[in-house]
């Protein structure tokens, strides 16, 4: 009996590659025949990209504000003119700040800019103009914003400061052309127009790959559990490793195909610059797909149910990739404990790499570090998935 067991084991090992090929072929056939897989892999990315490319913008262009000029001096009027000319503001003028208070509360305007009555006098005293609350030093103007929307409040404040500084520099230059004052000049590298599309689109590629890697994979594997095909598979000589690998390879390729489509769209349709190399792009994307696929397999092995799997994939894959990855919200400005959590969100390592590859170019030390981290997370997830796939049935 035991001799026969050993005898049949040797050829089994040799058949491994063919079994693997059979599993992959089956998976590819299923993907091609299942419209929902293709929808998630190719149609959903299109929708997302167009949404981020055209619909969502984090730029605060043309903020509507109320401008109150309490002083009728030429200096104050000159500054007011500078605000009206600014392309960042759509200005409604008034003489009394109370007239705008209700508009601000109702959200009809983003802020109130006040050039106070003593502005000209302070200006004449020679100190530099500034945007500030009560200031003892030099002329100042007041910016009232709605603090309940800190993002917009910050934009309005920063743009107001920018307008005032530019205006002050110009006046200084006109008044005393002899000695150029030392000024701080801002330059934004890599994304000179500060178009948020340029970093949202690369970021959304990470979201798309999360959808394909985690959501789609967890769904298809959970479906096999639900339909009983997984059980039938497992009772054949196929090993757990072959089963998992047979799932991973097709969805890995699908994920990269989906990513390629996104990149082409980003560059050709949205004019996002691409300054890095394709090699870097595929290297970081491939590294990211490991934890994404591992997570999908783990979820489906743990739930064995398509509904639960989709919920879990959205909660643990999609939402963190959206919210905790630095895609929409700066990680540095998150509370400490949340920052720690982001350490295990694979997308957090991918998104800066993608943004760099698009906007700056290849920065290999950064890429390699991120890739190593993502592969490590992936290895842990795969290990867990392999364990729960083999052990838990029924």
């Amino acid at each position: 009996m035991s001799a026969q067991g050993a005898g049949s084991r040797a050829p089994r090992r040799a058949r491994g590659p063919r079994r693997f090929a059979a599993l992959v072929r089956k998976e590819v056939r299923q993907i091609l025949r299942d419209p929902s897989s293709l929808l998630i892999a190719f149609a959903l990315p299109l929708v997302l990209l167009f949404l981020f490319g055209y619909g969502v913008s984090l730029d605060a262009t043309r903020n509507r504000v109320g401008l109150v000029v309490e002083s009728s001096t030429p200096v104050a009027q000159d500054l007011a003119a500078a605000f009206r000319a600014s392309r960042y503001f759509e200005v409604m003028s008034g003489r009394d700040r109370r007239a705008f208070e209700e508009d601000l509360v109702r959200g009809r305007i983003r802020g109130i800019l006040v050039i106070p009555a003593d502005f000209a006098a302070d200006m004449a005293s020679g100190a530099a103009a500034s945007v500030q609350g009560p200031s003892a030093r030099g002329p100042s103007m007041q910016v009232i914003v709605d603090g309940s929307d800190p993002n917009t409040a910050g934009f309005v404040q920063n743009y107001a400061r920018g307008v005032v500084e530019t205006w002050a520099r110009q006046r200084a230059a006109e008044a005393a052309p002899r000695a150029p004052a030392i000024t701080v000049e801002r330059r934004f590298w890599f994304n000179p127009e500060l178009a948020s599309r340029n970093f949202l689109v690369p970021g959304s590629i990470a979201i798309v790959m999360t959808l394909v890697g985690t959501l789609l994979t967890s769904l298809v594997v959970a479906r096999e559990w639900e339909r009983g095909t997984m059980e039938a598979m497992m009772a054949t000589p196929v090993s757990a490793a072959e089963l998992l690998a047979g799932k991973i390879l097709p969805y890995f390729v699908l994920g990269l195909a989906s990513m390629t489509l996104c990149v082409l769209l980003a560059v050709l349709v949205f004019d996002v610059p691409f300054r890095g190399s394709a090699a870097a792009l595929y290297a970081v994307s491939a590294s990211f797909l490991m934890p994404a696929l591992g997570q999908g397999l783990l979820i489906s092995a743990a739930t064995k149910n398509q509904f639960l799997a989709s919920q879990l994939a959205l909660l643990s894959g999609f939402l963190p990739a959206f919210l905790l990855s630095g895609f929409l919200f700066e990680i540095d400005s998150m509370p400490r404990p949340i920052q720690w959590i982001t350490a295990i969100v694979p997308a957090r390592y991918l998104i800066p790499c993608l943004q760099t590859v698009f906007l700056a170019g290849d920065v290999w030390p950064m890429f390699l570090r991120a890739m190593a981290t993502m592969l490590l997370i992936g290895a842990v997830l795969f290990l867990l998935a392999a364990r729960s796939t083999r052990k838990r049935i029924g």
């Binding site: 009996m1 067991g5 049949s8 084991r9 050829p11 089994r12 058949r15 063919r18 079994r19 090929a21 059979a22 599993l23 072929r25 089956k26 056939r29 299923q30 025949r33 299942d34 339909r227 009983g228 095909t229 059980e231 039938a232 598979m233 497992m234 009772a235 054949t236 000589p237 196929v238 090993s239 049935i393 029924g394």
Partner: protein, 579 residues
């Protein structure tokens, strides 16, 4: 024959619940069909999964091919064929692609494939469908494909988990003869089933009940225990249901069922025909010994069925039989009912009428159209053509009035699993418009009749299957409906619960309730006054069980079973259709 599976003291537990398998010992021999028999929840699937090595036992020993199933799962899996209960094949692959996949997984050399595929496709009759998607096959064809995939390399052990479920009797017979042939070639076969007629045909059975082994051995050993104690009483005067009820209350009677026009009785151990009460056996009735069946012995093994008294029926007000005028009308009527889904006709021109106080059965394989017909008649599905009436009310025009007169018990447990037993009763009372004192009275009555009080606070989903079924019946009859719709009410339950259930139904019918029941248990059809056989959307035969059986009786088979009748009638209908 060589033992290829040996188990001793096998125990498996899931969570803190009662063990799924409790110290089960037995064996499976090469060249035999071993039946794993028992109701749902008996532990059949768990036992099969243990044999595949997909699951590890908690206690006890399990050896397959002399190898420990805990440690040598991979070696065992190389030599078994396994067909899980759920169709384990890929529905979006074709028949051929599924075969290809399994050939690769099982390492069938390419050179051997054309021969193997050809043989299996011919064997299963799937040749014309090789290019069809597996999902588009009928239930019977799916099972055959599953079998073909499990047989790509001839296994030493073939494990089939309820292969007969969802399969029409003809395909079931085909499957059985294929498997019988394999056993003849020396393959050890495990066939799990809840059908006791299948159990009877096995070489050896393991009879399981809630994880415990009730019996193991040859089926004839078990049926032998009731030999000489089974009698068929025919020619009973008057209505046979009250006669059966009376007989079941006699201490000398262990079990009894309606069998067409006759009554089948099992007398207690040590008794003979004399135990049949005089009131039952009184002329013109004739008492004849009958060959024992597996089910008779099974019920006897469990200590006999419940008595014949139905508290439910006793608490139900009698409805006068046919009177004058509108009361004369049938309670349930189907006239030319037709339902089309796209270009597929699920039910075609179905016509029948059920008078008050009768049981009417819709019999047919899954997918034949009996559920569609059933749903049109209880107002759940709008017919494409024809009309249905309940107590004279047209379901289309007076849907609400018609529905208020019917009680419905669905195929799957359709109560609220997260509500307690008492809350379910209260909810259904409310849903049927019972209010105030009536509602309190009826829920209290149902709780008492079905003995639900000890479980009143329990979530319905945690109830054992038998109790779930009682609760479902309680909810369906709460409002004293005139017509009762039962959709496969006893599939998967143990025979004692089935007896109890039919005692209630028989009692209600005697009170004038009209019953429409669907079933694929052929023996259950015997309880019906009349039956419509449904096949591929058409009613191919209509009549009493005895009439249908008589129609197919011939010299070779003078006393055909209901299943024989079904198979023959479906074949005849197919021939006519082809002609």
């Amino acid at each position: 024959m060589a033992e290829i599976v040996r188990m001793s003291g096998l125990t498996k537990r899931f969570g803190g619940a009662a063990p799924a398998l409790d110290a089960v010992s037995g064996s499976v021999a090469a060249g035999e069909i071993t039946g794993l028999v028992g109701p749902d929840g008996a532990g059949k699937t768990t036992l099969i999964r243990l044999m595949t090595g997909l699951m590890a036992p908690e206690g006890g020993e399990l050896e397959v091919f002399g190898l420990d199933a805990r440690r040598a799962a991979a070696a065992i899996q190389a030599d078994i064929g396994y067909m899980p209960q759920r169709f384990g094949l890929y529905e979006d692959l074709t028949v051929r692609e599924n075969l290809d996949l399994y050939a690769d997984l099982r390492g069938l050399p390419r050179a051997e494939r054309p021969e193997a595929f050809g043989r299996l496709l011919a064997f299963t009759g799937l040749e014309p469908f090789a290019a069809r998607l597996a999902g588009k096959l009928s239930g019977g064809m799916k099972q055959k494909l599953g079998l073909a995939c499990a047989l790509l390399r001839k296994p030493r052990l073939l494990l089939l988990d309820e292969p007969g479920v969802g399969v029409d009797p003809i395909s079931r017979r085909d499957l059985w003869s294929m498997v019988r042939g394999l056993a003849g070639e020396g393959v050890g076969v495990v066939w799990s089933t809840a059908y006791l007629d299948e159990a009877e045909a096995c070489d050896r059975v393991l009879l399981l009940d809630r994880g415990r082994l009730l019996f193991t051995g040859r089926p004839s050993e078990l049926t032998g225990r009731v030999a000489g104690r089974v009698f068929k009483v025919s020619g009973v005067e008057g209505r046979r249901r009250p006669v059966l009820a009376r007989a079941l209350d006699e201490p000398g009677i262990v079990d009894g069922v309606i069998q067409g026009e006759a009554i089948r009785l099992v007398v207690a151990s040590g008794r003979d025909a004399g135990a049949v009460p005089a009131a039952v056996a009184a002329p013109p009735a004739r008492v004849q010994p009958a060959p024992p069946r597996f089910e008779d012995a099974y019920v006897d093994l469990l200590g006999g069925g419940p008595g014949g008294r139905s508290r439910l029926a006793e608490a139900t007000a009698a409805r006068p039989g046919s009177g004058d005028g509108p009361g004369d009308r049938p309670v349930i009527e189907a006239r030319g009912l037709t339902k089309r889904f796209g270009d597929f006709t699920a039910a075609r021109d179905i016509t029948f009428a059920i008078p008050r106080g009768q049981i009417f059965g819709l019999l047919g394989p899954n997918g034949a159209g009996k559920s569609t017909t059933f749903k049109m008649l209880c107002g759940l599905l709008r017919p494409t053509g024809g009309e249905g009436r309940i107590a004279g009310f047209d379901l289309r025009r007076d849907g609400a009035a018609a529905r208020n007169r019917l009680g419905y018990m669905a195929q799957k447990f359709s109560l609220y699993g997260d509500l307690s037993v008492a809350q379910n009763l209260a909810f259904f009372a409310g849903a049927y418009g019972l209010g105030g004192r009536l509602r309190r009275e009826r829920t209290a009555l149902m709780t008492e009749i079905f003995d639900l009080a000890p479980h009143a606070g329990m979530s319905a989903k945690l109830l054992p299957l038998g109790l779930k079924q009682r609760l479902a019946l309680a909810c369906a009859v709460m409002h004293e409906p005139e017509a009762l719709f039962l959709d496969e009410p006893t599939s998967g339950v143990d025979p004692i619960t089935r007896r109890e259930f039919w005692t209630h139904i028989n009692g209600l019918v005697e009170k004038g309730v009209t019953v429409l029941v669907t079933t694929h248990f052929m023996d259950e059809a015997e309880y019906c006054d009349r039956i419509a056989l449904i096949d591929r959307g058409r009613a191919i035969a209509l009549g009493s069980p005895d009439e249908l059986k008589a129609r197919v009786a011939d010299a070779a088979n003078p006393d055909p079973s209901m299943e024989d009748a079904f198979v023959a009638l479906v074949r005849d209908a197919g021939r006519e259709g082809a002609a």
